[in-house]
C-alpha cells in the first residue's frame, strides 16, 4: 500500500461506503436458524481484520490441552544445576498441547495458526498438576505466496506463530513468512550461598559470581535450545522473542527460563515496507 492510496482512501465518510444502510440491509435479511458455514476465531477485531487484509481467511479457533503431572526433582543445596526432569516435563507437556492444537488445524485444512498463546496453570486440586494449553486461530491463505511454494512450514505441517494479527500483517508486508513457534526451556536450580560466604558479604556491595553464572547458564541453555529448533526448521531468524523467568511453584531458587519466538523465512530478497505516516495520537 502506498501512502497516496491511504491518503485518498482514509477520509471516506460513512455514507460513501454504504454504511449503515448496507449493514442494516444485511441484518434485515437475517432469518435466524438458516444454516450457514460459520467459522470461529480467537482474534480481537483488529487482528481479525488485519489477518484478512494480509490475505488470509480464519478457519476456526484451534486448541490443544494437556493436564500433566510434573515429576519431582531436588537440586543440590549448594550447586548450580539444571533440573533435567523438570525441564523435560515442561517440554513434553507443551509439545503435547501444541501437537493437539496442530492436529485440529490440520483437520480444518489450515495453512497456519496465528496468535498462538501457550499458557501453564498449576492446578489447585492436585500436587504438581499443571494444565498446559495452546490456543490459536487456524488460517488459510487466499492465494499461495507470490514467490511460489506454499504457506505451510517445510515440515508439511501448518505454520505456527505467536505474533498478534498486527505483527503478522507487518511481517508479511516486509516480505517474511512465519515458519513455526520455537521455544527453549531450562529449569535451573541456583545454588544457595555457603554460610561463610554469605557472612563474608555482610554489609558489602559485591557481585555474587555464582548467582550471575547460574543465571547466565540457564538463560543461555534456554536460548540455544530455541535457536536449535529454529535451525531445524531452516529459518532465517526468530522474531518477537520473549525471554521469561517463570517461578512456577518450586521455591525461590528453582526457576524455569523460557525462550519463545516465531521463526521466519524470507519471501523475497528485499524487505522494504511502505513509508508509514507519522501520527500524534490524542489519546493518553
Amino acid at each position: 500500500m502506498t501512502t497516496d492510496e491511504t491518503a485518498s482512501g482514509a477520509p471516506q465518510d460513512a455514507a460513501s461506503i454504504g454504511v449503515p444502510e448496507d449493514a442494516m440491509r444485511r441484518l434485515a435479511e437475517m432469518r435466524p436458524g438458516q444454516p450457514t458455514s460459520l467459522f470461529t476465531s480467537d482474534l480481537s477485531v483488529n487482528e481479525f481484520l488485519l489477518v484478512r487484509e494480509a490475505g488470509f481467511r480464519p478457519l476456526g479457533l484451534v486448541l490443544g490441552s494437556s493436564i500433566y503431572h510434573v515429576g519431582f526433582q531436588m537440586g543440590k543445596w549448594s550447586q548450580n544445576q539444571e533440573l533435567g526432569t523438570l525441564t523435560q516435563a515442561m517440554y513434553h507437556a507443551r509439545e503435547l498441547a501444541m501437537t493437539r492444537m496442530e492436529a485440529e488445524a490440520d483437520l480444518l485444512g489450515a495453512d497456519g495458526i496465528v496468535g498462538v498463546r501457550l499458557d501453564i496453570e498449576f492446578k489447585e486440586f492436585g500436587n504438581d498438576l499443571a494444565e498446559f494449553i495452546a490456543v490459536g486461530t487456524a488460517v488459510l491463505g487466499e492465494d499461495p505466496p507470490a514467490t511460489g511454494g506454499t504457506w505451510k512450514a517445510n515440515t508439511g505441517k501448518p505454520f505456527t506463530s505467536d505474533l498478534s494479527g498486527q505483527d503478522f500483517w507487518t511481517l508479511l508486508e516486509a516480505g517474511y513468512a512465519p515458519l513455526g513457534l520455537v521455544m527453549g526451556s531450562c529449569v535451573y536450580h541456583i545454588a544457595h550461598q555457603r554460610f561463610w560466604q554469605s557472612m563474608g558479604n555482610v554489609g558489602q556491595n559485591v557481585e555474587i559470581p555464582q548467582f550471575t553464572e547460574g543465571l547466565y547458564d540457564a538463560r543461555e541453555l534456554a536460548m540455544s535450545r530455541m535457536q536449535a529448533e529454529a535451525e531445524a526448521l531452516g529459518a532465517e531468524g526468530i522474531v518477537g522473542v520473549q525471554l521469561l523467568s517463570l517461578p512456577h511453584k518450586w521455591g525461590g531458587h528453582t526457576t524455569e527460563f523460557f525462550a519463545i519466538g516465531t521463526a521466519v523465512r524470507p519471501l523475497r530478497p528485499d524487505h522494504v515496507i511502505s513509508k508509514p505516516q507519522l501520527t500524534l495520537p490524542l489519546s493518553g
Binding site: 455514507a15 441484518l27 476465531s41
Partner: protein, 293 residues
Amino acid sequence: MTWDGQGLPPAARARIERARTDRIATSLLSPGGQAAVQSVGLDPVGEVMGCIVEQIGWSGWGGCGVMGFGGRGYLAASAPTVTSSRGGYGGYRPYVDALYRGYDTALSRMLTEAQALGADGVVGVRWTQERLGEGGAHEFVARGTAVRARSSIRPAYLFSTDLSGTEVTRLIHAGWVPAGLELGISVSIRHDDYATRMAARSWSGQNVEVPGYTELVTYARADARDRFEQRAARHGADAATVSDMSLEVYSIEPSDGHVDHVAHATVLGNAVLRFHAGRAAPTRSLSVLPLTR
C-alpha cells in the same frame, strides 16, 4: 402489587418511557467510542439494562454417574467424562440450562428496553452473573448502549455485541456487522478412576500426562465451543469471534472415598455478519507509526 414477570418491571418501563420522551441519550461508551459509532451512522439513544434474579436450586444429580452414587464408584477402572450436553444419569444439564435461561433473559430484557427506545442494536454489552448470599439465588445482568442506525432499513431483530464502540466501527468499515452476543457453557464431570489416581499421585515423582484430567478439560472446552458455535449459527452468522474463554476445575466428594472432578468451561463471543461481498474491504486501514513511546 408485585410484578407478574411479563415484559419489563414497572420501574424499567417508567425509566424507558421518560428516556423516550425527554430525548436525553445516556451512553456507557467512552467519548472515543461514542464519536466512532456516530461516524458510521449509529447514534447512541440510551443506556439499557436487563436483569433477572433466578433461583438455581437443583444443579443435576451432582455425581459422575459411576456405580450409582455410592462409594463403590471407587472401584471403577475407567470412567467416561459426562458433559452437560450429554446428560445420562450424571451431569449438570439442569444447572447449565438454568445459566442459559439467566443470561438469555437478561439479554432479551435489555433488548426490550432498547426496542422501546427505537434502537437497532446494543453495543458494548457487559454480561455479569453474581450469586446472592448463601441461598441459590443468582442475579444475571446485561447492560449496554442502545444505538439507532441513520438508515431507512430496520433490521429483522436487534443486534447485540460486547465489542466497544471503536471495535464496532472498525468491523463496519471492513464490511462486517455484529449480529448477536452469544455464549457457550459446559459443566462436565469425570470420576477419578484408578488410572487417573495412579497418574496424579504426588509421590511418584514421574513426568506423566494425566489422561483422565486432560480428557475432562478437553471435553468440557469442546462442549462449550460446540454450544457457542451452535448458538452463534442460530443468528445465521458468517463468523463468530471469541472474546473470552475460561475454564475452572475443582474436585467434589459426593460420597465417602468417591472423588470426582468438575470442569466449568465458558466461551463468550460475537456472531458477525458480512455485508460486503468483495474480497477487499470497502475501506482500507491506514498504516501509521504512532509517535507515542
